[in-house]
Amino acid sequence: MRLPKFEHVQPSSREEASRLLQEHGSRARLVSGGTDLYPRMKYGLTRPDVLISLKGLPATPPTVDPNGDLHVDALMTLADLARSQTVLEKTPLLSEAALSVASNQIRHMGTLGGNLCQENRCPYYNQTHTFQFVEPCFKRNGDQCYLIPKGKKCWAVFSSDTAPALISLGASATILAPKERRQLPLENLYTGDPLKPLTISDGEVLTEIIIPCPLSLRGTAFMKFTLRGGMEYAALSVAVVLDMENDGVLCRAARITVGSVGAGPIRAGKGENAMAGQRLSKNLFQEVAQLVVSETHPFPHHGYSAAYLRACLEVETRRAFSLAAEQITRNPGDPG
């Protein structure tokens, strides 16, 4: 399978990349590892004339700032992220999510930034359309959906594994535009619209992720549900962070994010509220898991029906709670 023609530009800095993106406008696209973009270009789903490549730029290793917060370079490969000792100590949840993406080879190529900015997917859209003599679907500028016949909207799902983990960790993203650098909570990066999944514009570059690491008792868990268990996009994923009172049994605050079953990652706010201030117990986990399912409305996708996904989501959320509760530990920076 061949890539279509394009012009390839290797900027010497992120600032230059952002300037070049602005200059070339909609003709240009940013590329990091290319593991999401190149397959789409080979299928003919997108045809940029110019590729601005971040591949040659070095990634800064993760650092901890004076507040104890973790800074991760968006250009870091998922393999380096998964094996970084600093990340493992500060936020094992992120290491786990990074390690669950695709395969060893893809983790050595794919970056955190590319993972967070990947396109939404659907089994109809993500293939070559050369020999199909039918009207295009919504995502190819048509007005129908082949996945849900007579569907009035696009049902492509956002399948990043690191996004739910980072949103549950309360991460924020640093965005570089030609004239400014700004920060936004990572969950605000996503629009919830499958046709335009990201809120950032074409001239903007995601450069860094900042993860707050409070000095408190915390338990975390990441579950990725797939059919085969090997390299596979998630049927669904759920990332849970439980911040505990000092006694270790009362939950002070919870963050729950569900991935791969919607047009973007979904925060389960009702579930989070129901968990806060409660004593952890099996019954509570069951109740909150049901609440999470009721507020999530999973999209049917890749052969999974909505009913099946709802049933799996309840089980996986409950498991995530139990696992997080077992792993409650103090932040290594905390004197105790």
Binding site: R2, H8, P39, Y43, L51, S103, N104, Q105, M231
Partner: protein, 159 residues
């Protein structure tokens, strides 16, 4: 517009003028005649195009040749020459871990990296290291067996 690049493959450097859209896979197979690297899917799903860049396993079907300028590349041809096999290759032969052979170069390279990083892998480590390499023939059991065997062999050799 073509760009001149220098590719260092299996210790030998050569220069080529390549189009930006040319993948490393195409450069290796069509320009250098190194056909041990295979194209299965071309879209990142099968791992048969695996090569090592700077010792790390990557997919040559999703890597641009222009981005490999002066990088150290190792293909299956750099692992053994057909007579002199590496312990991993020998174990694949001994265990019958090859049928049609299309996945084999990728499987061997992924296993080489695994054993270098973790000379004594558990079964779950082998699964994880090879999850991006599909085999449509062997049913995987013999491949897993071969990696175990190569690991034992390499550990005894070191002692």
């Amino acid at each position: 517009m073509k760009q001149i690049i220098e590719l260092s493959v299996n210790g030998e450097s050569s220069e080529f003028a390549v189009e930006p859209q040319e993948t490393l896979l195409e450069a290796l197979r069509d320009r250098m005649g190194l056909t041990g690297t295979k194209e299965g899917c071309g879209t990142g799903e099968c791992g048969s195009c695996t090569v090592l860049i700077g010792g790390k396993p990557i997919l040559s079907c999703l890597t641009l040749a222009v981005e490999c300028h002066k990088r150290d590349i190792v293909t299956i041809e750099g692992i053994g020459d057909g007579n002199d096999l590496s312990p991993v290759q020998q174990a694949f032969v001994d265990c019958g871990a090859i049928q049609c052979g299309f996945c084999t170069s990728g499987m061997v390279l992924s296993s080489e990296v695994l054993l270098k990083e973790n000379p004594n892998p558990q079964e779950k480590d082998i699964y994880k290291a090879l999850e991006g390499n599909l085999c449509r023939c062997t049913g995987y059991n013999k491949i897993i067996e071969a990696v175990h065997k190569a690991s034992e062999q390499m550990v005894t050799e070191q002692e």
